[in-house]
């Protein structure tokens, strides 16, 4: 298996992504990038008609729009990520061994994102699903406000592993599809008007078990055990209506 290294110190965004594309086309299966410091769009320009796949390890602070439009690759970040991780991501996997910024999973339409710590505002903004494509976003910490705003599909799980309680507001504002699971609980005043808070059932527990297992495989350093997490109370947030604004402009 061909592996490669890139030193990103003083390398511009475009150069770095050019280099990644060259490596993919030349058959590299693993690339590790050191000294990343804010370079954007890492992993974005890696579409090939034949569906080549690559594992990318990022050391440092990944810049905005990491894994935007990601086409089936795996990216692991050893450090924090900034805004727009997985923007319109199509397939593949992103693992952030740290925290993520705002608009995490924005317009995501497939693949999986695992964030060890918390994230900023507007995670899963307009996340969507279609037929076999169902994006999944798992956050080990907490999210800030507007989680799942205008969410149209997919699964979001917020584990709050430190047990700090969810203090975000405007959760699911404009939500009309998909599902959000929160470990712990949340007040009705913290969620959008069109969001229904309900207890999880057996089918939900199966979904949680699947993705918590995958989260734990990626972050074995987690203090809680999988069993402890899964034994916790969860709530499910779903939209009351698939077309909340269906009558907005109808008289």
């Amino acid at each position: 298996m061909m592996a490669a290294q890139i030193d990103a110190a003083d390398v511009e965004t475009k150069e770095l992504n050019d280099r990644l594309r060259e490596l993919l086309l030349s058959g590299a299966k693993r690339v590790s990038i050191r000294n990343v410091c804010g370079q954007r769009y890492i992993g974005t320009r890696l579409y090939t008609p034949q569906g080549l796949r690559m594992d990318i390890e990022v050391f440092g602070t990944a810049g905005n729009d990491l894994a935007a439009f990601l086409y089936g690759h795996r990216i692991a970040v050893h450090g924090n990520a900034q805004d727009g991780v997985g923007n319109t991501m199509d397939a593949g996997e992103v693992v952030v061994r740290g925290r993520a910024g705002d608009v995490l999973g924005f317009s995501m339409r497939g693949g999986e994102i695992y964030v060890r710590d918390g994230c900023g505002y507007r995670a899963a903004l307009h996340m969507k699903e279609y037929q076999g494509k169902r994006p999944v976003l798992v956050i080990g910490g907490r999210s800030q406000d507007f989680l799942g705003e205008y969410m149209a599909g997919g699964v979001v799980i917020v584990l709050d592993l430190a047990g700090e309680r969810h203090d975000a507001h405007f959760i699911g504002t404009g939500m009309h599809g998909g599902v959000i699971y929160l470990r712990g609980s949340v007040e009705q005043s913290q969620v959008g008007d069109q969001v229904e808070i309900s207890p999880v059932d057996e089918a939900d527990r199966a979904v949680l078990a699947e993705y918590v297992t995958r989260f734990m495989e990626r972050f074995p350093e987690t203090e809680m055990t999988k069993e402890e997490i899964l034994a916790s109370g969860f709530v499910r947030l779903t939209p009351r209506s698939r077309r909340p604004y269906g009558n907005l402009y109808a008289y």
Binding site: C37, G101, D102, D145, H169, F170
Partner: protein, 383 residues
């Protein structure tokens, strides 16, 4: 007033890699809370790391603690614009005549610049260390006297703008990328400050000119801003009633004047000022306990015209303080971090990590909630 647009596209880096403008302002601030002073080299590196957020039409710095030898005087930084050297010098003569009527000038000089740095059409930039000559029977405060004088200069003396006026601090700004402006004013080798703030990109929705670059300041309050104040008209109208003339042709100016009105003149604490500029929405107020509900309702009623609508992330600098604040639903990014005595605020975490790879704590403050760094101990020679 000349209105030909200057659009410099000179890139700092030799290789032209970006054809697309990926714009968004960049803001950065660094404070040594022990009061130890450091050069502008680090903040220049940090802001250059967000080069793609800018567009080369504006950059500027505020630096606190840079004039200890003149710490008792107000340091006025003046910009003399105009199409020719004669026009600039005419503005300077008129300004100096005005100053001599109102102030004692202890020392003045041209602000040194590195002429090798290719900036476009720089104005004549001069600094004056002054004390006000206030009529002893006048009831006007020193601050009000100075603010009134600055407004008069900026509104009435053609081609002359006071763009910095605090004690032991100064702003440096112009048209270009911030790292170029930093090199032009030699901030990496000429000045040492305990607090630096910096901004990249241009004045919102207006043509780029040297006076329109950030920071915007009044006395020792400076503002660097990412975003757009869509309530500018209302804010401006309200501030004009208190004697603030908005002359710099862009929105951010109103935040500096609002901060002066609320914090210096009305002595409100930053926690309250934050709730005036970025108040909680009404249904959040409705859920508050009675006392808080009354307070926030009152603030919204009394200070409605100072609500800053539209997206913003700002860094407010003041003597001994650096404050980060975003709009109430955080439509612009802001990351805060600490490493020992160092306190950082930035549009992007990577810029902080570039100059301080290890951080004790890094977080994104909630919208509308100020994050405040203060000097633990300000050494006497720097006050």
């Amino acid at each position: 007033m000349e209105f030909w647009i200057i659009m410099p596209r000179i890139r700092r880096r030799r290789r032209e890699l970006y054809n697309k403008e990926i714009c968004a302002c960049s803001i950065f601030g660094a404070m040594n809370r022990d009061g130890d002073r450091f050069t502008g080299e680090g903040v220049m590196k940090a802001i250059a790391n967000m080069h793609v957020r800018g567009n080369g039409l504006g950059g500027g710095f505020a630096a606190y603690g840079i004039y200890p030898e003149h710490r008792d005087c107000y340091a006025f930084h003046l910009m003399f614009t105009g199409p020719s050297l004669q026009a600039k010098q005419a503005a300077k003569r008129e300004l100096e005549a005005f100053l001599s009527r109102r102030f004692d000038v202890f020392f003045d000089e041209e602000i040194p610049t590195d002429e090798a740095v290719p900036v476009k059409d720089p104005p004549l930039v001069w600094r004056y260390f002054v004390l006000p000559r206030i009529d002893p029977v006048s009831e006007e405060s020193e601050g009000d006297y100075i603010v009134r004088s600055i407004m008069e200069v900026n509104a009435k003396i053609e081609n002359a703008y006071v763009f910095s006026s605090g004690k032991n601090m100064g702003c440096f700004k112009g048209v270009g990328y911030p790292e170029e402006i930093g090199e032009y004013f030699m901030l990496d080798r000429t000045y040492r400050a305990h607090t630096w703030t910096v901004h990249g990109r241009f004045p919102t929705n207006t043509q780029a000119w040297w006076g329109g670059a950030h920071p915007f300041s009044l006395l020792d309050t400076t503002i660097v801003h990412n975003g757009e104040i869509s309530s500018y008209g209302t804010n401006r109208w309200y501030l004009e009633m208190y004697g603030y003339a908005c002359t710099l042709q862009t929105d951010t100016e109103v935040i500096a004047y609002a901060a002066d009105l609320l914090m210096r003149r009305q002595r409100l604490p930053i926690e309250v000022v934050a709730k005036i500029l970025a108040p909680p929405i009404w249904n959040a107020i409705d859920r508050m306990p009675e006392r808080e509900r009354r307070l926030f309702t009152t603030l919204r009623m009394v200070y409605g015209p100072l609500l800053m609508n539209g997206p913003f992330a700002v860094i407010i600098g003041q003597t001994g303080r650096m404050i980060g604040l975003t709009d109430r639903i955080r439509l612009r990014p802001l990351t805060a971090a600490t490493n020992g005595e160092m306190f950082y605020i930035s549009s992007e975490e990577a810029s902080i990590r570039l100059i301080s790879p290890h951080l004790d704590r890094v977080w994104t403050p909630n919208g509308g909630e100020p994050v405040v760094g203060e000097l633990y101990s300000m050494r006497k020679d720097q006050l």
